[in-house]
């Protein structure tokens, strides 16, 4: 029988976030309804939904800024609260730095609030500000910096203490392409070092490019939840896109497809019932064709978003 110490060592680390059947009401309207999901380590969960869907409210409940009326939230295995704060980095939608305080001082303060010793917080803030190109302005007050610089500083404040859970509320909002690229790098680096990342966004191309899983909510309800590839596949109409020389543009003996038509420089095959993309590929390969591109056609996340949200209303 293993010793108690061994049992502890074998016990799995609790998930960063587990949300089960959570409800939240403001006034007479339910802004979050029976919402359930989880956030896993070293993954990036895209939290999608139209304005007012309940994304920010849910994030604030995970942070214990507001409390749910019903349901259960566990953060690293315990109830949300200040005890988890040192493991969480939060980038709110409404960014904020103290206007009349040097940026380095604000970041040091935020680092100390997250449990870092003052000297270490200061050192880390200096290093990270240097890394994002703000080394020369770190002693300036926030109101003396450009908006882009302030956003970079805010990102530094979020990751300063190397959190295990990053909660990013609309992180790409208002960013120019250069800063957006910088943020993409930061987010992926955090995920790659093992942090769980949940990111709300309106920008579907960002979600498609970055997220491992997505959670789509509207009117407080969960509409979609799962791996991005699974979600896209589930919305696929079974079509295959093929491009190259000699690709037939009519059925012309192609048995695995029921419809063929040319679109955007490629040929779109709608597969027959029971046929697979592999069957079609074999058929094409048997012909004298050169295939440059062959992929299962799936709707974009934008299309899925519109389809699901409109379908739910």
């Amino acid at each position: 029988m293993p010793q108690s110490g061994d049992m502890t060592a074998l016990r799995p680390e609790p998930l960063p976030v587990v949300v089960e059947g959570v409800w939240k009401r403001f006034g007479s309207s339910d802004v979050v309804r029976d919402l359930s999901f989880e956030i896993r380590p070293a993954e990036l969960l895209g939290f999608l939904g139209p304005n007012g869907a309940g994304k920010t409210t849910t994030m604030r409940m995970i942070l214990d800024i507001i409390r749910p009326d019903r349901g259960l939230i566990r953060v690293f295995g315990s109830a949300p609260g200040v005890s988890n704060s040192p493991r969480i980095g939060y980038l709110p939608e409404e960014r904020g730095l103290y206007r009349d305080v040097p940026v380095i001082d604000t970041l040091t303060y935020f680092g100390v609030l997250k449990g870092l010793p003052r000297r270490e917080a200061h050192g880390r803030a200096e290093r990270l500000l240097e890394e994002v190109g703000l080394g020369s302005v770190m002693h300036r007050r926030a109101n003396e910096l450009s908006r882009g610089m302030q956003q970079k500083a805010q990102v530094v404040a979020t990751v300063l203490h190397e959190p295990d859970l990053l909660i990013l509320d609309e992180p790409f909002q208002g960013l120019d392409p250069v800063n957006a690229e910088m943020l993409r790098g930061v987010v992926l680096a955090q995920r790659d070092r093992g942090a769980a990342v949940v990111m709300s966004t309106h920008r579907m191309e960002e979600a498609e490019a970055l997220c491992d899983r997505i959670l789509l909510i509207d009117d407080g309800r969960r509409l979609l939840y799962g791996r991005l590839s699974d979600v896209r596949a589930s919305f696929s109409d079974g079509a295959v896109i093929a491009a190259g020389d000699g690709i037939p543009e009519r059925l012309d003996g192609v048995t695995s497809a029921s419809v063929v038509h040319r679109a955007d420089g490629a040929v779109r095959f709608v597969l027959r019932e029971g046929a697979t993309a592999r069957d079609l590929f074999r058929e094409l390969a048997a012909r004298d064709v050169s295939v440059d591109r062959f992929e299962v056609a799936a709707p974009s996340l934008d299309e899925i978003f519109i389809k699901v949200v409109e379908g739910a209303r």
Binding site: D64, P86, F110
Partner: protein, 409 residues
């Protein structure tokens, strides 16, 4: 980090951030420095250390038939001839010379020969009053000195000296100036500090709200430690400012060479001092909690200041109603103000100043009322703060506020 550690961290940061602000430093230092500069300028142009200003001589020229001789009881009255008098005034050695003219006995008029006055009007009037009193005493003695016994001459010169006695006929003790002054000073200090510190609290909360930094802060620090830290840190900054002003006000007269007589020997009952501090601290706790909640509730800085000004009025009510306190400290209005937590500090400090013995039952009841209010206000305002601070630009309704205060958990 422990709750105490969070409180300490927030308090330290709020204190340092406030006391390093240019506006704070200017406000704290400019007032005493300005007062010092005024005194310095006054000294430069009107040197008050000139003994002749405090103990002026009376140069007297006698042209009347009254026989005037030097009198040891009036050593500062100096008899001179007209030529010497003119010379003294012309050379500036004397500011003025008094001349008793030939028709003095018929008219009672005495000439004051001056060349021009270089001091302030107050100094001129003070000097003139001292000189005229000395001259009048000297002339009375001279006019009647040869006709009455010395004792009667003295009674004519100084007819009465009033002394205060108690019912037992013993001299009454001197007025307990400090015991009366200190509570009043604390009452005023309380109000001054309240308004100053409320300004800092409002500024801090509304600024965090307007810059949205509050969302990051409240995700790391629970509402009660955050509020407590703010109240302590900003209260400390406010008190530091008031302390600098008070110490400057006390030091300035000494530095200026015009110490307030007896101020350093104030007879203060230690228990009064302790009670004054207790009322100050509890009163501050009540009002600071309210101001922090106002900062969270108000949609902007301007609205916050308006609400704060309105809610600060109860604190000043006892000072406005001072007449009632002076009339009768047992009347219902006074007792009511002493027990109502928002008016208790200023009311009780006045009662302590006016009562000969400390009314312990009233003191106890008002302290309990204040302490209970301080605890309730702190928790209620922390809940209001938590529930409303993220409602950017929106004014929550009464129902939302009450709901936040009464919410579970």
């Amino acid at each position: 980090m422990t709750t105490f550690g969070l409180v300490q961290l927030v308090a330290r940061r709020e204190y340092l951030r406030t006391v390093r602000r240019r506006g704070y430093l200017l406000g704290t230092l400019l007032i005493p420095l300005g007062a010092a500069a005024i005194v310095l300028l006054a000294q430069l142009f009107n040197p008050t250390d000139d003994p002749s200003q405090r103990d002026p001589a009376v140069y007297l020229v006698n042209e009347s038939a009254v026989e005037l001789e030097p009198d040891p009881r009036s050593p500062r009255v100096l008899l001179i001839d007209r030529a010497t008098g003119n010379e003294l005034v012309t050379s500036g050695e004397a500011q003025e010379v008094y001349v008793v003219p030939a028709d003095y006995t018929a008219t009672g008029l005495v000439d004051r020969v001056v060349r021009g006055w270089r001091g302030t009007e107050i100094e001129r009037l003070t000097r003139q009053a001292i000189q005229q009193q000395r001259l009048a005493e000297y002339l009375r003695r001279a006019l009647i000195g040869n006709r009455l016994p010395d004792e009667e001459v003295e009674r004519l010169v100084a007819p009465i000296t009033v002394i205060e006695v108690g019912l037992d006929g013993e001299p009454a003790p001197p007025a307990d100036f400090g015991t009366f002054l200190l509570p009043y000073a604390f009452a005023l200090l309380f109000l001054v500090s309240l308004f100053i510190t409320s300004g800092y609290l409002l500024q801090s909360v509304t600024e965090e709200k307007e810059t949205r930094a509050v969302e990051i802060v409240v995700s790391s620090v629970p509402a009660v430690p955050l509020m407590t830290g703010k109240v302590l840190g900003l209260g400390g900054a406010g008190l530091t400012q008031v302390a600098v002003w008070v110490l400057s006000a006390l030091a300035l007269p000494y530095w200026a060479g015009a110490a307030i007589p007896g101020l350093s020997r104030l007879p203060v009952q230690p228990v009064i001092l302790v009670l004054a501090v207790a009322y100050f601290v509890l009163g501050y706790a009540v009002y600071s909690g309210i101001y922090a909640a106002i900062g969270a509730l108000a949609p902007g800085t301007r609205e916050a200041q308006q609400y704060a000004g309105f809610l600060a009025m109860p604190a000043a009510l006892p000072l406005i109603a001072t007449a009632a306190f002076l009339t009768d400290t047992q009347q219902p209005l006074v007792i009511g103000l002493a027990l109502f937590p928002f008016t208790a500090p200023a009311a009780m400090l006045q009662i302590l100043a006016l009562e000969e013995t400390i009314p312990w039952p009233l003191v106890g009841a008002s302290l309990v009322s204040l302490a209970v209010a301080a605890v309730l206000v702190t928790f209620a305002s922390a809940r209001v703060f938590r529930a409303t601070v993220l409602l950017y630009g929106k004014r929550p309704g009464i129902g939302e506020i009450v709901g936040a205060v009464l919410a579970r958990g």
